[in-house]
């Protein structure tokens, strides 16, 4: 469990030992984490892990059974209205009224968030520019907009009152690749200005956008850190892709000579049309395998070395490893008891 430092000055959000129970079932159990101001945090977990429950409690829509949530030092449970004025929330599926125009809707939401007069008009124009809504969609009825534009309206609403913390539950769900890139760029542009929590199933998305990720499974935080730190923790090895004209038996023998601790697998049992085999070589983190591989196989011309490439484990693999580990811990518990 990640310990939270007492200094709250640089924290947009501090979640301490948050638990939510529905009868005997714990949706989330003792969840703690913090988000620094201007940081983008990815919130990962399989379906039913407790992501949406956590986000709803942070947004003040649901009450925790125990634990505390402080947004910019304000307790969400004790001062919900005050805390909510620091939060921009975009719920899952981005629900929007169908029969209102974009401009009218944003003005209405701005008034609800306490903006008025010239500031309201300026801010609405500003967010429409940021989300590229002003010229294409400002006067359109929300129900007639494409999914991508609806997501933009949701994001525009979330950033409208310049909150310190933005919570987005699956912001890119159902979007095409062009729209995903546009939304990703939009979220990146918020870095440094607002703290952002993004929940998503699209893990490469999180890796591209977020400074840090939290993996939650079975209601518990199972991993937390930057994608690089998570890789080191859950998949502590280097992985290289090697492509050359050498049979697996021979490749194994020569590999043992230069890297005794290495392990390898053949990507395809048969050579490709050009006679090349592809191997994945796994070595301990401290071993610099790339250089040794190049030196060994390039020195023999008949190997016809074509490629030695470092293959970083994806966040997806880290996610699988982290959730598998937490499952194993869960399975071990009853055995111990």
């Amino acid at each position: 469990m990640q310990e939270i430092p007492e200094t709250q000055t640089q924290s947009a959000l501090i979640v301490r030992r948050l638990t939510k129970s529905y009868g005997a079932i714990k949706a989330i159990d003792n969840v703690s984490f913090r988000v620094a101001k201007g940081e983008i945090l990815g919130f990962l977990g399989p379906n039913g892990a407790g992501k949406s429950t956590t986000m709803r409690i942070i947004a003040g829509l649901s009450q925790a059974t125990s634990g505390t949530v402080d947004v910019c030092g304000i307790s969400v449970a004790l001062y919900p209205d005050k805390a909510k004025s620091h939060i921009g929330f975009m719920p899952e599926n981005n629900p929007l009224p169908e029969d209102v125009r974009v401009l009218e809707y944003l003005r209405y939401r701005a008034r609800l968030k306490g903006l008025d007069g010239r500031r309201l008009a300026e801010r609405v124009d500003e967010v429409m520019d940021i989300c590229q809504l002003r010229h294409k969609a400002a006067r359109k009825i929300i129900g007639n907009l494409s999914k991508g534009f609806k997501q933009r309206v949701g994001i525009a609403d979330a950033i409208l009152a310049e909150p310190d913390l933005i919570i987005m539950d699956e912001p890119t769900i159902g979007l095409d690749p062009h729209q995903i890139i546009a939304i990703r760029e939009l979220i990146k542009s918020l870095r440094g200005r607002m703290a952002v929590i993004i929940s998503s199933h699209i893990l490469p998305e999180i890796e591209l956008v977020c400074d840090r990720a939290i993996i939650i499974n079975q209601g518990c935080v199972v991993a937390s850190g930057s994608p690089e730190a998570l890789r080191r923790e859950f998949l502590p090895m280097n992985r290289h892709k090697v492509s050359l004209k050498l049979q697996p038996d021979e490749f194994g023998k020569r590999l043992k000579n230069i890297l005794p601790k290495a392990d390898f697998s053949v990507d395809a049992e048969l050579a490709d049309a050009d006679g090349y085999y592809r191997y994945t070589v796994k070595t301990p983190l401290e071993e610099s395998a790339g250089e040794k591989l190049v030196r060994e196989f390039s020195s023999t011309p008949e190997c016809c070395l074509r490629e030695v490439a470092l293959d970083k484990p994806s966040l997806e693999e880290v996610f699988m490893a982290a959730t598998r580990r937490s499952w194993e811990q869960v399975m071990k518990k009853p055995a111990k008891e």
Binding site: K84, P95, L96, P97, L112
Partner: protein, 255 residues
């Protein structure tokens, strides 16, 4: 206050762009115009002292049964179905502000529709000048007390509609639920009194008196006779506040 104003003006705007509002308005005004015409025809062929307005207002329950569900069924049920209630609750507004804004928007429209029926005597006055001398057409005290009753009872009926809408995600179910509760509140008490066996025990007499007090038709009789009784006002106000509080709690729990 600024946030509540924003909520209320948005709800009124939504009400005026919803097709169900215009369906309710059309049905209501057409039905009431027909009712007024029939009342005038009946009065004109008799020498009774009863005014057309008195007979006209006694039919108030018929349009209420379909107008109130049509006006209120979307209010909270639609928001919950669409998920917009959660988005609304994530802003610094409370559940009671949301419920009150929806309630007031519907109630304002309810009052507006009933106020439009005041045009019927005026239309009669201008289209049949010879009828203008008939005192029964413009009985001001009767109109004042009668419409006071309509507005007071309407406060509770609209609160019933909003309450029904908070119980479900389906607008259709909300409408049907609202219709059933309204039917029980308006007609049910009278029907139960008729069906209940007559008893001379103290408890039975007390219950019959209480049930009689709850009957809207009994109250309307007094108001139509230009008697301004404050007890029904207290009843409708307290019932409205109670329903409003329950609806706010439900909304908060289900957002």
């Amino acid at each position: 206050m600024g946030r509540f104003k924003a909520l209320l003006s948005h709800q009124i705007q939504l009400m005026f762009i919803a097709p169900s509002t215009y369906v309710a308005a059309f049905l209501f005004l057409s039905f009431m115009a027909l009712m007024y015409l029939l009342c005038v025809e009946e009065i004109s062929s008799s020498t009774t002292a009863i005014s057309p307005m008195e007979t006209f207002l006694s039919t108030f329950w018929v349009p209420v049964l379909f107008m109130v569900p049509l006006l209120t069924m979307r209010s909270l049920a639609e928001e919950r179905r669409m998920g917009t209630l959660g988005a609304l609750m994530s802003t610094p507004v409370s559940a009671w502000q949301i419920v009150l804004s929806k309630y007031l928007a519907c109630y304002i429209f309810y009052i507006l529709l009933w106020s439009l029926t005041l045009a019927y005597p005026l239309i009669l006055f201008f289209s049949l000048p010879q009828a203008a001398s008939d005192e029964r057409i413009f009985s001001w005290p009767q109109m004042f007390t009668g419409y006071s009753f309509i507005f007071a009872s309407g406060a509770m009926y609209v609160a019933i509609g909003i309450f029904s809408s908070s119980l479900t995600r389906s607008t259709l179910v909300a409408g049907m639920l609202s219709f059933c509760i309204l039917f029980l509140a308006i007609v049910g008490v009278g029907m139960m009194m008729k069906l209940a066996p007559e008893t001379e025990s103290a408890w039975g007499t007390y219950m019959a008196g209480a049930a009689d007090y709850l009957q809207p038709f009994r109250q309307l009789e007094d108001f139509s006779a230009s008697i301004f009784d404050t007890r029904p006002f207290f009843l409708y106000f307290s019932a409205t506040v109670l329903l409003f509080a329950i609806t706010s709690l439900i909304t908060e729990a289900k957002s």
